[in-house]
């Protein structure tokens, strides 16, 4: 654990981290793009999730919707991860003991696991339920989990900021 804390202290001393923490507006500028990209991640993936759970967009085939939604989701996620990472470097030690932040990271890991299971197991049989027939429960569950997790990730992101800068 001490090695990890030492590592976080070192992270804070890297030139990039100093740039983030010392510049007057650097953090705010990064934060602006972080929030915008988080909202795009949720908005785009929610469309596919709503289709999977059967709540909306049944006129679209699952594969068609995936093709349209996922590139935007991933692009926005990459921006969110980079901007989030930058903000982390500035105060790595403080974030590492922020409960809301730790929950948020755990939830993102859970979302990743959900994507892996869906993509490599459930999605293999997509041809059978692509359109016009009910989606199997495993796909419904993946959609519902994704919706709940991303809502929670956004909420814990806000609480992270609230505990960092009360």
């Amino acid at each position: 654990m001490k090695a990890f804390t030492d590592f976080l202290h070192w992270v804070e001393t890297t030139p990039l981290a100093i740039l983030v923490s010392q510049s007057t507006y650097g953090f705010s500028a990064i934060d602006m793009f972080h929030i915008a990209s988080v909202s795009v991640v949720f908005g785009m993936i929610a469309i596919l999730d709503l289709r999977l759970t059967g709540m909306a967009f049944s006129d679209f085939s699952v594969t068609d919707l995936s093709r349209q939604v996922l590139p935007w989701t991933w692009a926005a996620f990459v921006i969110a991860a980079i901007t989030g990472g930058l903000m982390f470097t500035g105060q790595a030690v403080k974030y590492s003991v922020n409960f809301a932040f730790l929950v948020k990271i755990a939830l993102i890991a859970l979302a990743g696991l959900n994507v892996l299971v869906f993509h490599f197991i459930t999605y293999r049989g997509v041809a059978k339920w692509d359109r016009g027939v009910p989606v199997p429960w495993a796909a419904k569950l993946a959609g519902a989990l994704s919706l709940v997790i991303w809502i929670a990730v956004t909420a814990y992101g806000r609480f992270t900021a609230y505990y960092m800068f009360p």
Binding site: Y25, I35, S39, G43, F60, D64, Q68
Partner: protein
Amino acid sequence: MAELSQWVGSLPISLAMRRITWLVPMLQTLHILSIGIVLSSVVMIDLRIWRASRSGTAIARSEHFIPWMWTALAIATLTGIALMFGAPRSWRDGAFVAKLYMMAAATMATVALPIMLRRNDCGGKDAGVPAQLVGVAALLLWLGATLAGRGRWIAGALGG
């Protein structure tokens, strides 16, 4: 206008919002999530009218996503107004004013889009160039409004 902002900040509801610590992050979360739906709805319409996707007609695509977009915009606006009680904004804040202008222009573009698609030569099957341009303008304006909503710091950065 500064007095108005101060007066709003001293209202009981504003004081309550600062006391109930989870209220602001919760409202912010709802605000961010609903803005996400606004943006993704416009992206989905743009994908069809720019023919990156060819499934369905352009008009059907807009009829699918426009209701989601307006519902989400209503939630974003209500949560946005509620948040202003906790942290009143000023008309002197350029980013806030820019956000309101961009929202107004984006709303007009989003209203115009389905009308343009319906009036199109091919009856809304595909989009003409004007509708394509309005579609892109709508997305950029909503994106601009989203960024400006988090742009309180910009005035300071510009030395204002």
